[in-house]
Symmetry: C2
Subunit: 125 residues, 2 copies
């Protein structure tokens, strides 16, 4: 079967807690570019990150440890930064830890349907 045929699973949006740290630098909604967002999503690990955040988030944002990837931390840091700099995720610094969540409203406003494709994606068998 094609990787994203069928109905997309439901995207969870958790309420924004109060008192969050400021977001790290990111593009504004007006600066979001389709080519840049697609480039950030053109990687199975980054699709996995975004999909898991969309479908399985247990809190507002998550640090890279939550994902349970068996990868060097430096590599993961790079991927999380690439997603933030493309405008796919928002990152905040909590002490020594950075946590990410997906900019669902911004992406739905600019690129309707794109996150449904990510939610429906599955890694190659």
């Amino acid at each position: 079967m094609p990787s994203t045929a069928g109905t997309a699973p439901a995207i969870k949006v958790l309420p924004t807690p109060s008192g969050l740290p400021e977001p790290l630098p990111e593009p504004t909604v007006e600066e979001l570019r389709l080519e840049t967002v697609l480039g950030a999503l053109s990687d199975p690990l980054r699709l996995t990150i975004v999909r898991k955040l969309l479908l399985e988030s247990e809190q507002f944002d998550h640090s890279c440890g939550w994902f349970g990837f068996d990868r060097p931390k430096s590599s993961l840091t790079h991927h999380f930064k690439a997603l933030r700099e493309a405008g796919v995720t928002r990152q905040r610094q909590y002490g020594l830890e950075r946590r990410s969540h997906v900019r669902v409203d911004d992406l739905n406003a600019c690129f309707p349907g794109l996150l449904d494709l990510v939610a429906a994606w599955a890694p190659e068998a």
Copy 2:
């Protein structure tokens, strides 16, 4: 304004003529992968190619000369091949010339809404 906000322009699908040459090698529908397709589309020139084919096609498929790009032919050949190998376009050899069209039905079946994002895209001002 974000690059793809608003309503997507209508995608034109021209009827398939009879007696076409065989398509060049390409992934089957079952082999289409979201990460690969997004990678192929994460480039302004390739988005321009696909968008122009979707919205302005005057015949079933078009050679690279039709686009009027001021780029070396070798660079264009590379981009058209990348689109075909990702499964975004289908290419056929007509004598010395290759012509491309977008695999609209296949992409809509696998990645609903993706081509509307391409159609709504505009190059950076």
